[in-house]
Each structure stands twice: as structure tokens, then as C-alpha cells.
């Protein structure tokens, strides 16, 4: 299909396509590709086709009323869809089928979208490669030897493969933006609180945020419009007004102040990535943006802060998987405490255990002040960096990831090396600001490279317009 929401709606308006035909074609391709790419954990063939058939007759009227009418959409398999298996790519959830639907997913459905499947991820969204999945690794459609990035790897793959125009991912330290960069699509992490987290299985509650992966910036704006807003089920969701994101896409960035932090262009950055991102900055200047140097002096500490905070929150959030109320339970335990330990031991994969261990350690008596409290203080310093920078600019440009996609297995034995690849993305979650990854060319080997634009809190309209202007240039 490979078309945008606007193109799809044009086909519907002209009577040249019907939702059932569009969904059947998408499902056929997804099923065929899944053997090779493993983008999906669950494919909702029957329910999707049934819903699509119900929309066929009125689709020409529906597209005028509902922004995603007849649009096939996938969601990362850490978001609840009532009655449909939700695995988080973990054995510990077993055949868990939640009794409720995540707010962001419900909003997609109310906007007319058809949820055609649930995509592969690193277990509990912990990873940067979609290799840590109990259902096997997802593969990059550009080259199946490579990882698609992660943890929203499956969502990036299905959009990049042209199956569907929009998929939802979740981003705790780069999990939407980095796979978008690796697969050559657009990925948006909204401001913390912009989108409800109700029904998103918690990894690190102060960092997690749902956002869209799309083929183009306008579709990211359309999807954000639908999923944003206050939700009484999530007390951290904001009631800040939701502006007209699509209407903000004028492409005019004359006078826009674009900050470039030298700290993000130094050691560890692949020369080809550097070249493409710098060329991207020149393009923004050619369209009338004013390029200014800004400083994010604490960037080099961001990974350390992130892996303390994220694992601490994860160790607490994942305490709930105990084999009592839902999911998997290990057999043949003589006592309750033995059942807890065996269930968690058999249910969790290696990376999840490692992070629970690290998080438990940094929160444990005697280490709390030295690690957790210290990290929260440095987190405030990172937030101070951004506050200072945004006095001098409107958006900030960095690479999304220091390298293009890496090979499957390349980093799986070295967790620290894997973590260091998140250097440009984790600060965004730690400070709560929004950021978007947009494709900015390819390496000589033909691998996609992403440019990251960062906005101030709740300034998605301006951020999206900057990304749109870049995309048009």
C-alpha cells in the first residue's frame, strides 16, 4: 500500500477503494512478510476484516467525520486491546487478554482506525534492537540481517515495509525514535503527559510515552491529534489544550531559531551520520531558519542517569508479575514464595532480569542516596540544560542515533555497549520534552539515517512544522 492517510482517504473519497479491500491487502502482505520480518506477535485478521466490512458502505461519509476512518493501524504489543492477547513479548504474561482497552488505542478506534495487529518489541520495551523478544527478533526491512532498532521495532518495520500508514509505539528512552531512524520512517515522542498512558503496560512510569510511527510528518500530526489529551484514568495526563497540529504545518520556518549542541556531534558519532545530519541543518538554514549554537553540557551523564532511573522504576513496576492475578504461573511450587521466584525466573528474559537486578540494587538500603537520589539530582541538571537552551532557540537538532542499524547479535552480549547507543534519545525522556526523528538520507551501504528535532514542553505544533519543513526540502 505504502500510501499516506491523505492518499488513502482520497481513494475512499473517489470510490476507488473500500476499507475491507485495503485491510485484506495489508493483512495478506503482513502475513506473508511476517515469516521473514517477524514484525507482529498477533494479527487480528478476522476482527479487522469484520470491522472493515462494516465500514465499506458509508466510508465516503465517514472520512469527512472521522480523521482515521478506514485506516489500518497497528499497535505495539505493550498496549491493551480488550479481549486480545497482550504479551509485552514476555513469557510472564502468558495468554493474558486484558479486560480493557488503552485510552490511546480507544481514541484510534473512535477516530475510525482499524486495529489490524499487535507488533513485536523488546520484552517489556527493554532494549534497543527488538532482539529481546520471547517471540524471536524482528528484522529490518531494508536488510533482514540487521535489527530494526527497538524497542518499538515491529511498529517501525510494518510502517517501513509499507503495510500500513500508522503504527503506535512507546518511547521510554528512544524506543519510537531510534527504530524510526533505523528503518527510515518518522517517529514522534510527545511531551510527557500529552498522551494518556492508561493501558500502556508500565516500564518506567516517569519516562514512558505513547506516540506514532508514520511514513510522513503530516500523518504523525494527524495521529497525535487523535491520541492527545487529558484522560481521567491517567493522573499524569495533561489538560493543556490540544492545538490543531495538522493546521500548524505551513512549512514556513523563516526566523525559526534552530539550536545545534556541539556536545551531540563529538566522540562516538559515526562520520556518515554526522555528515547527513549536518547537511540536514544546512537545509533548514536554506529555508530561512536561523542556526544558533546551544549547549547541553551534561549530555555525557545522561545514559548513567537513565539506566539508574529507568531500572529503578522498572524493578518496582515489574514486581506485580507474581503468578497470582494474571499471566503465567510456574508449576509445582510447594509454597507461595517459591511460586513467586519460580514464576519470575521462568517468566522473564535475561535483559529484564538484569534491569530488575540493577533497579533493585540502586534502590536498596545503603545505595539509594549514592545512586537513585544522585541520578535524580543530575536529572534536574539535564532539565536545566534544556531550559537554558530553549531561551536561545525554538527547536534543537541532533542525530537520533550515533550509528545506522547494526547487525542482529552484534551487541547482544554487551549490555553497556547497547545502552550507549541511546545517548541522544534518553535526555528527552528524562526531561519530558517532545522529539521527532525524521529520515535524513542513507549511508553508503544504503542504511537509513535519522535526524532528531527536539521541542520545548507542549510545543509539538512548532516541532512538527519544523519537521515538515525539513521533509519538504
Amino acid at each position: 500500500m505504502n500510501s499516506s492517510i491523505a492518499e488513502l482517504h482520497k481513494l475512499y473519497a473517489a470510490g476507488d477503494a473500500k476499507p475491507s479491500g485495503v485491510c485484506r491487502e495489508a493483512l495478506d502482505r503482513i502475513e506473508k512478510d511476517n515469516e521473514r520480518l517477524n514484525a507482529y506477535i498477533t494479527i487480528n485478521r478476522e476482527s479487522a476484516l469484520k470491522m472493515a466490512a462494516g465500514m465499506d458502505a458509508d466510508i465516503q461519509a465517514a472520512i469527512k467525520q472521522r480523521p482515521l476512518a478506514g485506516v489500518p493501524v497497528a499497535i505495539k504489543d505493550n498496549m491493551c486491546l480488550a479481549g486480545v492477547r497482550t504479551t509485552c513479548a514476555s513469557r510472564v504474561l502468558g495468554d493474558y487478554a486484558p479486560p480493557y482497552t488503552a485510552t490511546a488505542v480507544k481514541k484510534l478506534e473512535e477516530a475510525g482506525a482499524i486495529i489490524i495487529g499487535k507488533t513485536n518489541l523488546d520484552e517489556f520495551a527493554m532494549g534497543s534492537s527488538t532482539e529481546n523478544s520471547a517471540f524471536g527478533p524482528a528484522r529490518n526491512p531494508v536488510n533482514a540481517e540487521l535489527t530494526p532498532g527497538g524497542s518499538s521495532g515491529g511498529s517501525a518495520v510494518t510502517v517501513a515495509a509499507g503495510h500500513i500508514p500508522v503504527a503506535l509505539g512507546s518511547d521510554t528512552g528512544g524506543s519510537i525514535r531510534q527504530p524510526a531512524s533505523f528503518c527510515g520512517v518518522v517517529g514522534l515522542k510527545p511531551t510527557y503527559g500529552r498522551v494518556s498512558r492508561y493501558g500502556l503496560v508500565a516500564f518506567a512510569s516517569s519516562l514512558d510515552q505513547i506516540g506514532p510511527l508514520t511514513t510522513n510528518v503530516a500523518d504523525a500530526a494527524r495521529a497525535l491529534q487523535v491520541i492527545s489529551g487529558r484522560d481521567r484514568h491517567d493522573s499524569t495526563s495533561s489538560n493543556a489544550p490540544v492545538p490543531d497540529y495538522l493546521g500548524a504545518l505551513s512549512g514556513d520556518i523563516k526566523g525559526l531559531r534552530v539550536g545545534v549542541p556541539p556536545e551531540c556531534f563529538g566522540e562516538g558519532l559515526d562520520p556518515e551520520v554526522k555528515e547527513k545530519v549536518e547537511a540536514g541543518i544546512r537545509k533548514l538554514a536554506d529555508r530561512g531558519a536561523e542556526i544558533v549554537e546551544v549547549h547541553l553540557p551534561h549530555t555525557k551523564y545522561a545514559i548513567a542517569v537513565y539506566y539508574v532511573i529507568a531500572t529503578a522504576e522498572a524493578s518496582s513496576n515489574l514486581a506485580r508479575y507474581d503468578g497470582v492475578r494474571y499471566g503465567f504461573r510456574a508449576e509445582e511450587s510447594r509454597t507461595l514464595s517459591e511460586m513467586y521466584r519460580k514464576t519470575r525466573d521462568e517468566g522473564f528474559g535475561a535483559e529484564v532480569k538484569r534491569r530488575i537486578m540493577l533497579g533493585t540494587f540502586v534502590l536498596s538500603s545503603g545505595y539509594y542516596d549514592a545512586y537513585y537520589e544522585k541520578a535524580q539530582r543530575v536529572r534536574s541538571m539535564l532539565a536545566g540544560d534544556f531550559a537554558e537552551a530553549f531561551k536561545r532557540c525554538d527547536v534543537i537538532v541532533t542525530p537520533t542515533a550515533p550509528t545506522p542499524a547494526f547487525k542482529i547479535g552484534e551487541k547482544s552480549n554487551d549490555p553497556l555497549a547497547m545502552y550507549l547507543g541511546d545517548i541522544y534519545t534518553v535526555t528527552i525522556n528524562l526531561t519530558g520534552v517532545p522529539a521527532i526523528s525524521v529520515p535524513c538520507g542513507s549511508s553508503k551501504a544504503g542504511l537509513p539515517i535519522g535526524l532528531q528535532l527536539i521541542g520545548n514542553h507542549f510545543d509539538e505544533a512548532r516541532l512538527l512544522n519544523a519537521a515538515y519543513a525539513f521533509e519538504q526540502s
Binding site: 486484558p98 479486560p99 511531551t191 510527557y192 503527559g193 481521567r232 499524569t236 495526563s237 495533561s238 489538560n239 493543556a240 551523564y301 545514559i303 548513567a304 539506566y307 524493578s315 514486581a319 507474581d322 503468578g323 497470582v324 492475578r325 494474571y326 499471566g327 504461573r329 511450587s333 510447594r334 509454597t335 507461595l336 514464595s337 511460586m339 513467586y340 521466584r341 519470575r344 525466573d345 532480569k353 538484569r354 537486578m357 540493577l358 533493585t360 540494587f361 536498596s364 545512586y371 537520589e373 544522585k374 541520578a375 535524580q376 539530582r377 543530575v378 536529572r379 534536574s380 541538571m381 532539565a383 531550559a387 549490555p415 553497556l416 545502552y419 519530558g432 520534552v433 514542553h457 507542549f458
Partner: protein
Amino acid sequence: MPITQAEVEKIAGLANLELTADEKDLFSNQLAAIVEYVDQLNELDTSAVKPWRHQSAGEVETSYVARDDKVEPSLGQQKALEQAPDHDEGHFLVPRVIGG
């Protein structure tokens, strides 16, 4: 900072994880490497900095999180128990709690 086998066992106990001997070995090495990396935060003087406190709405603090304390319908017992590995007569069923 090295992390001893005994420390790994203590943390695993706190986290309700039952690790194999191989996992204990691997994690004590990997956790030590990660913790050593994290130790670079000690280069920074943070004595004058407050720890991060969450502002759900970022700089535009417009979120009002309190609601009326009113009982509303929720899942109900049957639905809440439906996904449990084992349940009986409206209760979650687990192995015995005391002894063994």
C-alpha cells in the same frame, strides 16, 4: 565497584528472582561494569541541586489531578478473576503461605 556473589544473591532475594549459578556469575560481572559506568556521576557536585520531582505537564503546569472521591463501577469480581492462573469461589488461589 565490584559486586560480590553474595550481594547478587541478596539483590535477587529482594527482587524475588531465583537465579541460576551461571546467571549469578554473569550478572555480578555485568552489574559491576554498569555500576562502574554510573559512578561517573560522582564527578558532579550536586549538593546545591534539588532531585527531580515530576511535573506532569512540564513547564506549563496546567494539570489538575484531583477528582471527586466518588465510588464508580469497576471491573467486578468475575472479570477481575478471569485472567488468574487459579481461582476458586471468588478468591485467587495460591500455594500455601506458611511453612516449607
